[in-house]
């Protein structure tokens, strides 16, 4: 074999070894285990904190509200729909006495016209009938501008919860 070919082969060998060493150092250990990605990333994605809980964890303590809610139209609604994410509340609120709950554990108590209007403000796309297996229900549509308009003179806009019980509307 000519001399220059031998030298060239030597150079190639050095490059290949260098590539393999660098690949070993730079490649994350779990890369390529399950495909062209880091297999550890699947586990890392499970580590993110949760904020929402499940409906059962609310009714363990708030039993009276549950029995109240079960009779009304809002029986299929989960508590967190209106009250916001409640995992922290459900885990730690039990340690405090009634009335001593710190603000960080308190949940939303919506009841203004705009809060109820999120579902109940009249909208052409919202008038639809919800079928479930037993009965047929419909999300009540209300024109907030017409329905019991706020008294402007008194400067106290009437909230929905002044007249309606949100747990049993």
């Amino acid at each position: 074999m000519p001399q220059h070919i031998k030298r060239l082969l030597g150079v190639f060998a050095i490059f290949i070894v260098l590539f393999l060493v660098m690949r070993q150092v730079l490649k994350p250990s779990s890369f390529g285990k399950l495909g062209h990605f880091r297999a550890d990333a699947i586990y890392e994605n499970t580590l993110k904190p949760m904020h929402y809980t499940v409906a059962d964890s609310c009714t363990k303590c708030h039993r009276t509200i549950r029995t109240e809610k079960d009779k009304g139209f809002h029986k299929n609604l989960k508590c967190e729909v209106c009250h916001g994410p409640g995992l922290k509340h459900s885990l730690f609120a039990g340690q405090f006495k009634v009335g001593e709950l710190p603000d960080s554990l308190k949940l939303n108590k919506p009841g203004e016209r705009k809060d109820c209007g999120v579902c109940h403000q009249k909208n052409a796309a919202r008038i639809k009938i919800l079928f479930d297996t037993i009965n047929t229900t419909m999300v009540r549509q209300i024109d907030l501008a017409e329905h019991n308009p706020p008294d402007l003179k008194a400067n106290e806009p009437a909230n929905c919860i002044d007249c309606h019980n949100p747990h049993q509307p």
Binding site: P28, F31, L34, G35, H36, F37, R38, A41, I42, E44, N45, T46, L47, K48, P49, M50, H51, Y52, V54, N76, L77, K78, E80, V81, G84, P85, K114, G117, V118, C119, Q121, K122, N123, A124, A125, R126, K128, L130, V139
Partner: protein, 255 residues
């Protein structure tokens, strides 16, 4: 130079070809190539294979799903970062189509067109389709986004270089660059909740149960019941993305 070495006779060509082909066959039998295995077996043939159903006839556009997603996943509250959002489609009597999504529907919707002008109007909740042949994972130059065995498309935040290829590749616009992390971010189908046996936040929260989630491989699952009993369609079927987000009563206007 010898003439034989430069000119390959037919006999020698077949000889060399046979040796090469049998060599490849033997080598692939010894160490099967992953790519061939993947092609032989459909993804998700074993184990769980998650699918999503959205019933447009039931969606009342309250935007609770978009709101829940932002809070559960710490998505920036600015009105242009969304993993899940709701659009209101209004088709007017003159045939023009109006698509609205004020703040992704997080604060609810207000009807902007008077009733008399509306031919029809409906809400379309949007989110990652978790495609089986997802364009976004195919374009990633570093392998920072991938599909899990359960059919969930995830992002590896520690490996993403923020090149924005995947944001452009997604035909459904379901990805964004996280302003603080500088990496791609998208719906994970609340992967951290699934591992605890819980539903994703948007499915948990939907007040009218317009969102259905379940295992497509399980014949008794909610999603299979939903698909059996409704006429379902995916968005942009012509792109052949293998979308697993099925809409009931999807209008052709939805893009």
């Amino acid at each position: 130079m010898n003439e034989d070495s430069t000119q390959l006779s037919r006999r020698n060509f077949f000889k060399a070809g046979t040796v090469l082909a049998s060599g490849v066959a033997i080598a692939s039998a010894l160490t099967p190539y992953d790519g061939l295995l993947f092609a032989a077996e459909a993804p998700g043939a074993k184990g769980k294979w998650y699918g999503i159903g959205i019933d447009i006839t039931k969606c009342i556009g309250c935007g609770k799903c978009a709101n829940a997603c932002k809070q559960e996943n710490n998505v920036p509250s600015d009105p242009f970062y969304f993993r899940s959002w709701v659009e209101q489609y209004t088709i007017k009597n003159d045939g023009s189509i109006l698509v609205e999504s004020p703040n992704g529907g997080v604060d609810g919707f207000k009807q902007s067109v008077p009733d008399a002008e509306i031919y029809k109007s409906f809400f379309v909740p949007k989110m990652c389709n978790h495609c089986a042949k997802s364009p976004c994972t195919q374009v990633c130059p570093v392998g920072a986004t991938f599909e899990t065995e359960e059919g969930i498309v995830l992002v590896d935040e520690n490996y993403c270089i923020g090149c924005r290829y995947c944001v452009q590749a997604c035909p459904y616009g379901c990805r964004y660059i996280h302003p603080e992390k500088g990496t791609a971010d998208k719906c994970t189908l609340c992967f951290h909740r699934l591992k605890h046996g819980l539903q994703p936040a948007c499915f948990e929260i939907c007040p009218t149960e317009a969102r259905i989630f379940g295992d497509l491989n399980d014949p008794g699952s909610k999603i299979n019941y939903f698909l059996k009993n409704h006429t379902c369609m995916v968005v942009k079927p012509h792109l052949n993305t293998g979308s697993k987000l099925f809409y009931n009563a999807l209008s052709p206007e939805v893009r």
